[in-house]
Amino acid sequence: MVFVSSHVFAFLFPLIFAASVANRLWYALPLIVSISLVYAATRHELMRPIVEHAVRFSLWIVGFMIGVFIFLTVISALV
């Protein structure tokens, strides 16, 4: 559990930091929560695996967003 929460914090911190800088990023957070929970619920029946899957999936989404952020930052720095 401690392992999962430290990873959640490590992934979410850049997003929260970025969101505090750019207000519009806050709009992504409810969507990430909702999408990961609904998607995970379509892959499992019981609550425990649903929540575990939702946490993993939300980390994937945040990771993907950070990847796109880094890619766009690099592109804008190069051009």
């Binding site: 909702s34 619920a41 029946e45």
Partner: protein, 198 residues
């Protein structure tokens, strides 16, 4: 009529009775989560209801209650409504309001104040499209959609996005009510490192 689905995961064994799954899918479309509650899958039903309806109404409210309306003609071909209507009943009044707006003469809006409508302008109310049979879309002086965008700024688009995503999420929930969860088979979800070890 009822269909039984079993989880292939030995860690979380579960057997689900989908009851009449066609009826469950219809319920799931009409009201997110209702299909699961009909199947006595209460926890998932409540989860779908809270997440999908929460997303829908949060976006709807953020968009000033103007982002869900039906229009199937150019230039305001409202394609987001195709996604929004997947939420079911909460988006269906838009079809009724469209019919009322396009009837000749147009009928007053079902919801909200009819003052603007009675003054001869396009009604500015929930579910109502930004035009009616008296005023074509983009007619000079009656560009209601541009007025909404100007008033709500980016929230109109973000609200539209939220309501669209809610509709698309309900498509997943409808499938889940009809066919059960798309279970992950044991051993299917492992990292590429595991493959190398094998």
């Amino acid at each position: 009529m009822s269909t039984l689905v079993r989880s292939p995961d030995p860690e979380y064994p579960v057997e689900i009775d989908l009851r009449n799954r066609t009826l469950a899918a219809i319920w799931a479309w009409l009201w997110p989560g209702a299909g699961h509650i009909y199947q006595r899958r209460y926890a998932k039903g409540i989860l779908f209801m809270v997440c999908i309806l929460g997303t829908f109404f949060f976006g709807f409210g953020m968009g000033g209650w103007r982002v869900v309306y039906a229009s199937f003609r150019r230039p305001d071909l409202r394609l987001p409504y195709v996604c929004q209507v997947a939420v079911g009943l909460p988006a269906l009044p838009a079809l009724l309001e469209r019919q009322r707006a396009l009837s000749d003469p147009p009928k007053p809006p079902l919801f909200g104040s009819p003052e603007a409508f009675q003054a001869g302008e396009v009604a500015d109310s929930i579910f109502r499209p930004p035009f009616d049979s008296r005023h074509a879309y983009l007619e000079q002086g009656y560009d209601k959609a541009a007025e909404w965008h100007d008033r709500l700024k980016g929230r109109f688009d973000i609200g539209t996005l939220y309501t669209m995503i809610a509709g698309l999420l309900n498509v997943l929930a409808i499938y889940d009510a009809y066919a059960g969860p798309a279970f992950i088979l044991p051993g299917k979800e492992h990292s590429p490192k595991d493959d190398k070890k094998e």
